[in-house]
């Protein structure tokens, strides 16, 4: 008798629950925010600067929060430093083939670039006269920081999906599309956060906001394509999504988090500022639900003996 249980169904769930969902969301958003700050600093104009400053703040806050969440999620939090220093030898701990190892270093590097961007933003606004901040605001340093920040931001937004794929868990390891899906989602949630932040701070930046909305449309369209590719690439394993999580992925993520805001942003001048804010809120909720659905749908699959528990 040959059963047809996919090989990934025999692994155990690693208990990646709400804290990891939160980290994936915040990390992606922070990564996307630094990408946007870097883009505007490198290719934008002086009028975009208030939003560059806001994006730098979001990126730095996200980096700090991410580090805290990841540490708290460890079952031995006081040993968080074992990720970067070998406790037996004192030598650096790095495995280029382990996404979690690379991710820890990536978050560290991201934090440095986010800090440089934030210090530069502070000096830009004349809120500090500290020498280091003024050095960070120097055009050459800021440009180098923006290039590095863009790379680090793109990495942080996408590596979490690759981390899940480099496992033996159902759904996660059955597709290679999670990294790129999380990347697009990270950028779109960052755009949404900046749109809401700009509105909350009362920033009057029609040209910058119009660019953000245009860029968001492209990002959301790419996210929709990546989401479809992800589900199709699962093949027979997609049956593990025939449940509430699958419904959430279709209705909550694709419907509410991508297609609805895409429709609302299609003609921003017609829909007005309030509708745009609503669209941004939908993108944020959709981005969170995407991580929740992907992580928790796999977490609930477990084979006990010959019984598949779902």
């Amino acid at each position: 008798m040959q059963t047809s249980v996919p090989d990934t169904f025999f692994s155990s769930p690693p208990h990646f629950r709400w804290l990891i969902v939160l980290y994936f969301f915040i990390g992606g958003l922070a990564g996307g925010a630094l990408v946007l700050a870097s883009l505007m600093r490198l290719f934008g104009r002086a009028e975009d600067r208030p939003l560059v400053h806001l994006a730098s703040e979001v990126a730095l806050a996200g980096a700090v929060l991410s580090a805290i969440i990841l540490t708290v999620d460890l079952t031995r939090p006081l040993r968080f430093w074992h990720m970067v220093i070998q406790n037996h030898t004192g030598l650096p701990m790095f495995k280029w083939w382990s996404p979690m190892s690379v991710g820890v270093w990536g978050l560290l590097v991201f934090g440095v670039f986010a800090l440089v961007a934030w210090l530069g933003a502070l000096a830009d606004q004349g809120r500090t006269r500290w020498g280091v901040a003024r050095a960070a605001a120097n055009p050459a340093v800021a440009a180098i920081g923006a290039v590095g920040g863009m790379a680090a931001g793109l990495f942080l937004a996408g590596y979490t999906g690759v981390l899940l794929a480099v496992s033996n868990r159902p759904i996660w390891a059955d597709s290679s599309w999670l990294g790129v899906l999380f990347l697009f989602s990270g950028v779109s949630t960052a755009i949404a956060a900046l749109l809401l932040g700009a509105r909350w701070r009362g920033l009057e930046l029609p040209s910058t906001i119009a660019w953000l909305v245009r860029f968001d449309r492209i990002t959301l369209a790419l996210e929709a394509i990546a989401l479809v590719c992800f589900v199709v690439s699962l093949g027979a394993v997609a049956r593990a999504l025939v449940n509430g999580w699958g419904a959430l992925l279709v209705l909550g993520v694709l419907g509410m988090g991508v297609l609805l805001p895409l429709g609302m942003e299609w003609r921003p001048r017609i829909h007005g500022a309030q509708r745009m804010a609503l669209a941004a809120a939908c993108v944020l909720v959709g981005g969170f639900l995407l991580r929740a659905a992907v992580l928790l749908s796999s977490e609930q699959v477990r084979v006990l003996g010959t019984h598949v528990i779902r």
Partner: protein, 303 residues
């Protein structure tokens, strides 16, 4: 430290010997290195007594399941109440109850354990270096290094590793490293009353297992085969391999266990392409905005 794995401390640094001396030293080390050791589990003679489970818990000072034994948890779906390997159950005798109708069926018993894979997925992904390969070619978790990130749990294709709630670290079978390093047999195989679990050098176990399969097939059990004994098979072979008489999935084993890094290159490449697309589209749209605004600004003047 009941859960700490005793690991030999590195010798103090000594001056590097010249090249010929190094070669001679390496040769003598290779000659002195122990042979790869492992388990051969013949499931056809397992009687489900769970002596191995108990011996493992006793030797390794592992607690009972759940709340420490105050309340006995019953599975309610099998005569087996352990159900799965975990952070505090490093040996588990699976009961596979194949009874399509009452009085007609069979029991399959299999004492499950860490497979000590030659290419170990858990060791590969561990970001702290807590998971190591020992001189016996077995795989062990250093409890004083593990910080409980749980990456190894999702990497293991067999569902072997779990968090031990006493130590707060990932735990699994050590193949009784403390016993075998002083020439003793692991507790489970020592306790096994039917020799279903056999311990020894891998090469010797493979020969013995091959002969047993031939014997069973000659006796009419045509479905007998070895799972994980092939060094050219998945994961480079398993240092704890099994003789089975039904499909691997029936025993809760993946047909073709894989390395988690199989997705690394493809996943990273797709993400990198996506990252370039984001950077390119973002830069291009900002440039396009500038061009449009310049055109709009110069338009009325030109008219």
């Amino acid at each position: 430290m009941p859960f700490a794995l005793p690991i030999a401390q590195p010798a103090p640094a000594s001056p590097r010997p010249p090249a010929p001396a190094r070669a001679a030293a390496n040769a003598s080390l290779a000659a002195a290195a122990p042979e790869p050791m492992g388990f051969f589990t013949d499931t056809t003679v397992c009687i489900g007594c769970k002596a191995c489970e108990v011996a493992c818990k006793e030797w390794n000072q592992l607690p009972a399941r759940g709340d420490g034994g105050a309340h006995l948890e019953m599975s309610g779906q099998s005569y087996d109440n352990t159900l799965t390997l975990s952070g505090d159950t490093w040996r588990h005798v699976k009961f596979i109850e194949q009874f399509p109708e009452p009085y007609h069926g069979r029991w399959l018993m299999m004492s499950d354990v860490c497979k000590h894979c030659v290419q170990a997925p858990c060791l590969e992904v561990c970001p702290t270096g807590a998971i190591i390969r020992t001189e016996f070619d077995t795989v062990a978790i250093q409890s004083d290094t593990c910080n409980g990130c749980r990456d190894c749990i999702s990497a293991c294709p067999f569902g072997v590793i779990e968090i031990n709630h006493v130590s707060g670290t990932a735990q699994k079978c050590t193949m009784c490293y403390d016993r075998i390093s002083v020439g003793l047999e692991p507790a489970c195989s020592k306790a096994c009353p039917t020799d279903s679990i056999q311990f020894g050098p891998i090469s010797e176990l493979r020969t013995r297992a091959g002969a047993r399969v031939a014997q069973l097939q000659a006796q009419g059990e045509k479905g007998a085969y070895l799972y994980g004994a092939d060094p050219t098979g998945p994961l480079g072979g398993l240092n704890a391999f099994f003789l089975l008489v039904d499909e691997p999935e029936v025993y809760g084993l993946p047909r073709e266990p894989k390395m988690p890094t199989r997705n690394l290159v493809r996943g990273s490449m797709l993400s990198t392409i996506g990252a370039f697309m984001m950077a390119f589209v973002g830069a291009l749209s900002l440039r396009a905005r500038r061009i449009t605004e310049v055109q709009q600004a110069s338009g009325p003047k030109g008219e």
